[in-house]
């Protein structure tokens, strides 16, 4: 009896999460395309990656058949967060270094 109530509830709940995640992905992409400098762009992209993907994982977990697939999805999320953070840091650092170059050039000239 309880299952019949909970299953559609979970289903609709998962829709909310999925839509939210889609919203973050779209916002992140728009941000990456429209923001002026490298740092704000990175900010937009990483938001989309971590939060968007996290909401997606929650949404899909709600309709998953077993715990095994939920575990796999969480692992994927962790991996993407880790590599996203690393890549973001590398890019920001590269951005600062190349900025530093141009500043040095300005001083020299």
């Amino acid at each position: 009896m309880g299952m019949t109530v909970i299953t559609p509830l979970l289903y609709w709940l998962s829709w909310i999460f999925l839509l939210l995640s889609a919203g973050f992905f779209i916002a992140g992409t728009v941000g990456m395309l429209r923001f002026p400098d490298i740092y704000s762009r990175l900010h937009a992209v990483t938001k989309a990656d971590t939060l968007g993907l996290g909401l997606l994982v929650i949404g899909l977990s709600l309709r998953a058949d077993d715990l095994y697939s939920v575990g796999i999805m969480i692992l994927i999320w962790l991996l993407v967060m880790g590599s996203g953070a690393t890549a973001c840091q590398l890019l920001a650092r590269y951005g600062r270094e190349s900025e530093g170059d141009t500043e040095a050039d300005d001083v020299a000239s």
Binding site: G82, S83, T86, Q89, L90, R93
Partner: protein, 305 residues
């Protein structure tokens, strides 16, 4: 087919086509390369959509990942002047464009009747699966039914490596590895070994196998080498040569042994097929991983003799 399946296929197809046009058309070579990597990842999705998980894995690892790395590495070595002189594809080229369009239309005519036909090899594979020694049909085709193709393909890889090696070494400037990247590679590299091993092991029953595993291992090794956590690898180490050549050698030796023992060239004796295939796959994986690693990062110490 239902509407939302069509929407998925249509979107994927359209995206792939747009990306391919953009790759050829976009002005900057760098953006072209990045778009090409995205193109490869989309292809991997399409392979999965068409029921080919083995190919999706291989495409993501080899087609998009390693090819992308190679392209970026090549881009890094091209001089600034040459980058400036990039010329994209212009659409004013009347005759060539017309020719390609005509060819495409003729080819569409050729593929039109194909979806309704069938292959004689599908039932043949199903018939012989029990004797192949493995449970996954793609692995059975690669290592039993058409093992000769696979052996030659390992030779192709070896040949490409030899060919690259004899060109004068062109070393990219190795930037100092950043601590965060080093830390992350320390975490990722064991993971890639683990997943590679898993793919290899699983390949006998499920999608996966030597090529996918080899590509993953290579990715881990490349990451470690780029962050300076792995010593320089070179052809002058005997064990590197043994690793690279091992795949072909073990494969050939087992093939010849089969002929000697009367089970046919590249045939396996009854009951031995499973273990022998696993043995070949292990050596092939190591060989593929080492070769791909050296293809990407190149040799660091050897000078031309």
């Amino acid at each position: 087919m239902s509407l939302h399946e069509w929407m998925l296929d249509g979107t994927l197809g359209l995206l792939v086509l747009i990306l391919a046009v953009a790759v050829l058309h976009v002005r900057s070579l760098y953006i072209s390369i990045v778009l090409f990597i995205a193109f490869g990842l989309l292809l991997a999705l399409i392979w999965a959509r068409l029921g080919a998980p083995d190919l999706a894995l291989a495409e993501a690892a080899i087609g998009a990942g390693l090819t992308g790395t190679l392209l970026l590495a090549a881009y890094g070595r091209v001089s600034e002047r040459r980058r400036k002189a990039e010329e994209p594809l212009d659409w004013h080229a009347g005759p060539a464009l017309l020719l390609s369009l005509i060819i495409a239309v003729i080819l569409m005519r050729a593929v039109w009747p194909l979806p309704d036909l069938d292959s004689a090899l599908v039932p043949a594979v199903a018939d012989q699966m029990a004797q192949s020694g493995v449970g996954h049909p793609v692995t059975a085709v690669l290592l039993s039914f058409r093992a000769w193709d696979t052996l030659l393909e390992l030779l192709v890889l070896l040949l490409a490596f030899m060919a690259v090696r004899q060109l004068l070494p062109s070393l990219p400037r190795q930037p100092e590895a950043w601590p965060l990247l080093q830390a992350w590679s320390r975490l990722l590299a064991p993971l890639s070994v683990l997943i590679g091993g898993y793919l290899l092991w699983r390949g006998s029953a499920d999608p996966g196998g030597a090529f996918q595993a080899g590509a993953l291992l290579a990715a881990g090794a490349i990451l470690l080498r780029l962050t300076g956590l792995l010593p320089a690898l070179g052809w002058h180490h005997f064990w590197i040569r043994a690793l690279i050549l091992g795949g072909c050698m073990v494969f050939l030796a087992i093939g010849v042994a089969g002929y000697w023992l009367g089970t046919g060239f590249l045939g396996y004796a009854d009951g031995w097929a499973g273990p022998l295939i696993l043995l070949i796959e292990v050596f092939a994986t190591l060989s593929i991983a080492t070769t791909l690693t050296l293809l990407v990062i190149g040799e660091t110490r050897e000078v031309r003799e």
